[in-house]
Symmetry: C2
Subunit: 353 residues, 2 copies
């Protein structure tokens, strides 16, 4: 099988980690029967400055017509609002209907506080619909944004969370070590204030997860503020978390802090038959060009993309090679307290593939 993968480095360290993602895909053992073709695509703030569009139509068109999946690096945000510029990854998620943002956060080896959770973030609506307006009043400007929550999007993201909980349980039953023994989905909301929007998310998610095939999945719920609290006090309590877009965004950065670095945390933007792997970190202009960015978030994002393209064996190879590097702990990038370069970390992981 040949997979056609779009490569969208974006800005900053995106340009250093996306090539690493390409390298690991190319280095997968031939025995897996996988071939890759790569298509370089543009997006980001630099692209905006050069072409006037942060997400050129061509990039979207090629992803749609020519690609099975993609890797997206990171993009810089201008430090003050720039007319016409808006985040290309947010636009891409909507244009390709990549309705789920899946973010696994897992500690490796004998961590003092073992963590093994997946945040399943709704990826198309909530405040990310970006419907805003500003008006003048006698007391100054007022701006409003719409937070939109639909039954349809809430239902499909909760269903995805349930499927992921079942899949994780299957992998555990097959002998993969884990701190969890049974599948659990925790629904995040703030329905004590937002009774209609978050109330709809909550009740729809509950309903979706009460479907027959999820009878083995326990369902809990938690208010977002107390969830951030508990995330830091008892992170081992979470298996799969399902959340509206913005809460998912915030929770996943919080969870990343627990495993020591955003440089470790991958994500996949997932739609019907399409997935874009994307490291959770940003473009990190402060360290760009120094070859010290941690490539692991991108390598794991490549694996996660493969999982959602049904190449689970290839994905498992990448995860195992990354885990072996981290468990040995000799070649670590500076965000993890090490001194290894991006290239050294990558080469070490390729050797273990």
């Amino acid at each position: 099988r040949t997979l056609r993968i779009g490569l969208i480095p974006g800005d900053g360290i995106g340009k250093e980690v996306i090539p690493a993602g390409r390298r690991i895909l190319e280095a997968l053992p031939a025995s897996l029967g996988l071939k890759f073709e790569f298509i370089k695509l543009r997006a980001g703030f630099e692209t905006f400055e050069q072409t006037g569009a942060a997400l050129p139509d061509e990039t979207v068109a090629i992803l749609k017509s020519d690609c099975d999946g993609a890797l997206f690096g990171a993009v810089s945000s201008p430090s003050t609002a720039v007319k016409g510029y808006s985040s290309p990854i947010v636009a891409l998620r909507k244009k390709l209907d990549l309705y789920a943002n899946v973010r696994p956060v897992k500690s490796v080896g004998g961590a003092a506080n073992p963590i093994d959770m997946v945040i399943v973030r709704e990826n198309t609506e909530d405040l990310y619909v970006k419907e805003e307006k500003t008006y003048d009043t006698p007391e100054g400007k007022v701006a409003e944004a719409i937070k939109r929550i639909s039954q349809r999007a809430s239902s499909r993201i909760a269903t995805m969370a349930g499927e992921i909980a079942l899949r994780r349980q299957k992998i555990r039953s097959a002998g993969s070590p884990s701190i969890h023994t049974s599948p659990l989905v925790t629904i995040t909301h703030k329905s004590n204030v937002l009774s209609q929007t978050d109330g709809l998310f909550r009740s729809t998610a509950r309903e979706a997860l009460s479907a027959g095939r999820f009878t083995s999945v326990a369902v809990e719920e938690q208010i977002v503020d107390s969830m951030v609290y508990k995330l830091f006090r008892q992170p081992e309590a979470y298996d799969v978390i399902v959340a509206p877009n913005l809460y998912g965004d915030i929770l996943s950065d919080g969870a990343a802090a627990l495993v020591g670095s955003l440089g470790l945390v991958p994500s996949a933007n997932v739609g019907e038959g399409f997935a874009i792997g994307e490291p959770c970190h940003g473009s990190a202009p402060d360290i760009m060009g120094q070859n010290i960015a941690n490539p692991i978030a991108t390598l794991r994002s490549a694996a996660l993309m493969l999982e959602f393209l049904n190449e689970e064996e290839a994905a498992a190879r990448i995860y195992a090679a990354v885990d072996a590097n981290l468990e040995e702990g000799k070649l670590l990038s500076p965000d993890l307290g090490g001194k290894a370069t991006t290239t050294e970390v990558l080469e070490d992981i390729l050797r273990r593939l």
Copy 2:
């Protein structure tokens, strides 16, 4: 001076901690020249079940006409939406125009990771305007909520944050030990997605903090998701945080996790010449009636209320007595790993007053 203080226990452990707040005010040394009159007021879910109103008009009227300040415990939220019920504390903040929610989070003694920050949360708008609607579409229900950010509210909350930063610096200069050496305000937002609403918050806060009297205050800004990350990785980096309502809600629970328990973290809802002290924790139905709730968040909230009523000396007495209890670490409630009851913790602190 006689201060008239409304007491609103609410539900659950609110009924156990508010009496402790009253006790500490009554126990303040006579030399401070402060007298208190207490007025018991109703609000909460139990009140809703009994009277049909979670926040009776009478409670609001008496607070407005008869009180200098108040202590609010906590209220239970029904586990599914109940028609006509909505959070009384959110309503109270708006009805009394208590535009700032001030939440200091500080570690005590020789903590491994010393923390000393104040979260200054806008308290009247953002998604808390609770303007929601639900409509049907061919694909199911859709619900929308308004996130409203005004220049007026953003400006006054940023000004309050600046004043608090200056006041903290003054106390430090007077010899109070701290991890900070100069005043800093960090502005929280998500203007990379919400360019108009959070963009307005950001630019208005920057402008307010550029006023002449804040020249000694450094101003930084941070996107809310990366702020949650950094809150856990480098909490010592924060002095004063100013945030729109919802981000402030989430960040303060996160910060509470850093000092070990929500049971330690106070807040004050502050308006012109009025303040309501309120522990950050909830009504905790799981531990109610057992006399094991930590009273410290309420004791500190009573002190914080006094600070905003310009009784700084009385406030300092309470803070010192609480800190002494924690530093000794012998009589701690179960949330801190101890075995002391609410009463024992309170008595120990009263002895130290």
